[in-house]
Amino acid sequence: MQTQSSRWLGHGLYLVIMAVLISGVYFAGQKIDYSWHWERLWPYIINTESQDIVAITDGTAVVDAAGRLSIEPDFGDDPQIVNVYDTLVSRHGDLIFQGDTIARIDGWRFGPIAEGLWVTIKISFISLIFAVLLGVMFGLMRVAHGQVWRNLAVTYVEVIRGTPLLVQIFIVYFFIGTVFDLDRFTAGVAALSIFTGAYVAEIVRAGIQSVPVGQMEAARSLGMNYVEAMAYVIMPQAIKRTLPPLAGQFINLIKDSSLVSVISITDLTKAGREVVSGSFAPFEVWFTVAVLYLVVTGGLSLLIQRLEKRLSASD
């Protein structure tokens, strides 16, 4: 057993080592010929600049008594009405040409990095759900009595685990995507869930097989059929045992989702690449992107840990 004091000593030592490492990185950053501009990143995360509202046709500006701005077009179309704005740029009676700024609106919107983060979360979450569905299905097939099912499941797992995800993404997007006319987001979700599903299937199989045979026998001897025994006795126990490896697989899924940027999905990684070319701050961008990935994976880790704790009531 650890004593209290040796534990505090360990924590202290850890802090010292981390401080040395971080300051090492910091001074290395200072030493190189690179000017750090963290502040340049903000507009790419949350953009607080006011937005221009532009005219869609040529016409004349009309500001009515209520302060509502509208553009009466020169040629018979419906007027462009602007109800919400903060600063008026055009005045009543101004001649307006298409593309002119007629008003500005304050407030903020998400920058490309935030939008990329959202795409990453969305694509990971949807893929995770399909991966679990595929994984449970093929995991059950893997332990089924019928040889056909087992062969099919083994083929799926081996083919998917034996080829690189990057290649799978290209095949799904360019071949399957062409056959079924999939958009890139669907193709990305499909590739990620098929890939992760194979690993989940193996985890589910291992989980089922780790439940003692006696559990199935007890369930069956009480008159439950195979499906009932699986659903009420085997799977609840298997799921509990598979949670730690599943957590690892889900974290992999989030990280693997960065590969979908190759089919032009603007996820966090691709947004990062685009922002680098716009902001000329590559180091800052990539550090930020890494931290954002860490936040997402860490959050998921925490969530699963809490789930594990709740399920361990019977231990």
Binding site: G214, A218, M224, S314
Partner: protein
């Protein structure tokens, strides 16, 4: 017996095993022409050295183990018939295991309630009422909300017995129910089994508890090398001069 069938049906043995043979895929001939009848309300104890096929035979009676040839009838239902719904037969043939096999993710009460709710489609209230009275009957009224990991071996085995009883089986099979127990817990489980026997439950028991066999059994069966070597009433059985039985009893007593 609460049987509504005809008199001739009730006088038929509840379990009939006819020339049962079992050959495992690895070539091991585990059961050789085993035939045994069990009457309603009868307690049959099977003893024998390990590897004699007694557990295998018991497990064929609810088809946890399939047989190679022969016939097994439970309440005149042919278990080897492909059209027989084995799940329906198993509702009526309860089994208690050496390793208890309680469901670790359910409380004692949950263990007893699960099958009546899912298989017999009883309401939760109904299943709970039955489960509570059964757990009370096996002396665990105060442990109903405990998970198996919080129960002693003897308590777990009593929950397992209550779980089997919840399906209102016609016969209970016991596969070495006390072999995995610490010595001081054997008594509590045997007491429950004696109680059941007294109430007229039909039981087939594989055990090494000779005292139980002597006291409770209507018939004792000795198995060796996959064969049913001897079948007698307890008095005659324990005074038999069957040489192999003598050797076995000499080893265990």
């Amino acid at each position: 017996m609460t049987d509504s069938t005809t008199a001739s049906a009730t006088s038929m043995p509840l379990i009939q095993a006819r020339n049962v043979n079992k050959v495992f895929p690895n070539g091991c001939h585990a059961l050789k022409d085993v035939s045994l009848d069990v009457q309603r309300g009868e307690v049959v104890v099977i003893i024998g050295p390990s590897g004699s096929g007694k557990s295998t035979f018991l497990r064929t009676l609810n088809q946890l183990e399939t047989i190679t040839s022969g016939g097994i009838f439970v309440d005149q239902v042919d278990l080897t018939d492909k059209r027989t719904d084995i799940n329906v037969v198993r509702e009526e043939v309860g089994m208690v295991f050496q390793a208890f096999n309680l469901f670790p993710h359910k409380t004692a009460l949950g263990n007893v309630m699960l099958a009546p709710m899912k298989v017999l489609k009883q309401s939760k209230a109904e299943a709970q009422k039955t489960a509570e009275s059964l757990l009370e009957r096996v002396g665990l009224a105060d442990r109903m909300d405990n998970y198996p990991s919080r129960l002693s071996g003897g308590q777990q085995q009593r929950v397992a017995i209550a779980r089997s009883l919840a399906m209102k089986p016609k016969v209970l099979l016991f596969d070495e129910p006390t072999s995995a127990l610490d010595p001081e817990m054997v008594g509590e489980v045997l007491d429950v089994m004696k109680e059941l026997a007294k109430e007229g439950m039909t039981m087939v028991v594989v055990t090494h508890e000779m005292g139980f066999a002597q006291e409770v059994a209507d018939r004792v069966v000795f198995m060796e090398d996959g064969e049913l070597a001897l079948e007698e009433t307890p008095e005659r059985f324990f005074h038999s001069d069957h040489p192999r039985l003598q050797r076995f009893l000499g080893q265990v007593l």
